[in-house]
């Protein structure tokens, strides 16, 4: 109990009732504006919300009024859609593909970035620049010759071939991220390691690579998003649907122009669900992965 509680309640002054003080009025107006802004944001993503709600409605209920309020909810839409787009096997494929690509990209990229971040010779600058060049090249520029190359190497319709392609495609961003990070790591730790007799490889794997953990997290959330969501690579380089990814199979087996919402919406959400779950868990890393470079 504080002193103020013991004082008799004071009636608000008449002028306070009619016109609240500016600070309080401003606060109240701020709160209203906040609420309106949240509503506007929700309206903006309403197509997504509509999909979410409608995906649980029965086909008959949806047919009568697709924009209306749900009257009957069901999970059977999901079972049907999952079967149609081979969701379970393709999700497993995509997961393995994403994991394998992430491992290759981070290890190979970090290995290359270590000398690139430390050296200041002319050839290292040239090598760095040729990697960064890849950041702006859309895959379509190289897809025809890449297809012929993969065919000649007998890597078409091959899961390992896909991992190689995704690794190659994402090396520029990995080298870019890691090199700028290596430049910020002080060299004292490495010097200490080399005085203790550790060679460059031991120094890298036991001292430098562990220090890169934060940037690896950022890079890998970015890369997983790329690999999971990519359509053209599996579409072009895989033909067997049992090896293919969620996006390619969803595209091949679900025609969005003819499919009823009761099957289309669950299909759309199934493909997105794993990443949405990941986002909820790793929200901070996802946002920092997406905003790297926005501040000087």
């Amino acid at each position: 109990m504080t002193d103020t509680d013991l004082q008799p309640p004071r009636a608000p002054a008449a002028d306070q009732l009619s016109t609240p003080p500016p600070a309080r009025r401003r606060r109240r107006r701020g709160r209203t504006l906040d609420a309106l802004l949240i509503l506007a944001v929700l309206a903006f993503i309403s197509p997504f919300l509509l999909t979410l709600v409608d995906s649980f409605r029965t086909a008959a209920d949806l047919d009568s009024d697709p924009l209306g309020w749900p009257r009957a909810l069901t999970l059977s839409n999901y079972a049907l859609s999952a079967k149609q787009i081979m969701f379970v096997s393709s999700a497993l494929n995509t997961l393995l593909l994403t994991l394998a690509s992430c491992v290759c990209i981070s290890v190979i990229g970090a290995l290359a970035a270590y000398p690139l971040g430390r050296l200041t010779t002319r050839w290292s600058a040239l090598v760095y620049r040729s990697f960064v060049l890849g950041l702006t090249i859309p895959i379509f520029v190289i897809i025809a010759p890449l297809y012929l190359l993969m065919r000649d190497l007998h890597l078409l319709d091959n899961r390992i071939g896909l991992v190689i392609i995704f690794t190659a495609l994402n090396l520029p961003v990995a080298v870019f991220f890691y090199t700028s990070f290596v430049r910020q790591i002080p060299t004292e730790l490495e010097d200490a390691a080399s005085i203790d007799g550790a060679g460059p490889f031991r120094t890298f794997f036991f001292v430098v690579f562990p220090l890169m953990r934060p940037i690896t997290g950022t890079l890998l959330t970015f890369v997983s998003l790329q690999v999971w969501n990519n359509l053209v690579v599996p579409l072009v380089f895989l033909t067997d649907p049992s090896k293919s990814t969620v996006m390619a199979n969803a595209y091949s087996f679900a025609d969005p122009h003819t499919l009823q919402p009761a099957q289309l919406f669950p299909a759309a959400l199934l493909g997105a669900a794993p990443l949405l779950v990941l986002f909820v868990i790793f929200q901070r890393q996802v946002i920092s992965g997406m905003t790297t470079g926005a501040v000087k």
Partner: protein
Amino acid sequence: MFTGRGRYAAILFLLPAAAVYGLFILYPLVRGVLLSFTDNSGGPTSNFVGLRQYQSLLHDPTTMGALWHTVIYAVVVLIAQTGLGLLAASVLARRERIRRTASSILLLPALISPVMASFIWSYLYRPDGGINTLLGNLGLGSLQQIWLGNPSIALYAVAAVNIWMFVGYSCIIFLAGYAGIPRELFEAADLDGAGRWKRFTRIEWPMLAPALTVNVTLSLIGSLGVFDFPLVLTNGGPVNSTNTLALLIYQDIFNDSDFGMGAATAVLLLLLVVVVSTGASILLRRRERAL
């Protein structure tokens, strides 16, 4: 570490990345240019045809149309996405209580992949789909359209999905830029009695230069090579009105097995990307340096 005998270590460190990148990116890049001077159709032999592919390309209305659509698409997406992202960020930047929540919600569409976003919107765009139903319910029946069936608006309808998906992305990049603006600048502006517009033009816009660079670059890279949205939503139609260069390359190769033509179109796309990104980066660098 990498001097003297360490040079060999440096080369070993670089070897895996250089091998993968060289073989699977740089080599195809060079081979693609060579391929564009041939009539390769996927078979073991092909003939050197000089500039013939390019000549027929420049006289082919489909290719020129696709080039034009790609440019319009990139410009529309660049302006709308960056503009809306900046608007959202400038509003949310000073509303601390809802900033995190609102920007996370806005970011949701950016996580659901172009294919999935296109699934959702292809329903909304149907003649009897969500948008026309909503317009009808609001008494705005005169605005109803066959959104993806009308050649003069289909490209913008496809671009709208792209914009819808990535406005949140653009917004959080600008918000990160806002977070980097020192508070003292705003306090000084308040003391000087600067209005909101003046604050924006004199402080926020110049200080957001790095964020703008990231936004413009990402948006250009994405939209010049756009493929998923037009493929799923319209497959290039109606009457090729949403055909883009990337889509054309895909069709050249995998419907017609015309690798020579596909490679020539790819060189055209490469030139477009190089010209646009060089131009953009010169402009943006100059702004950042002026800071």
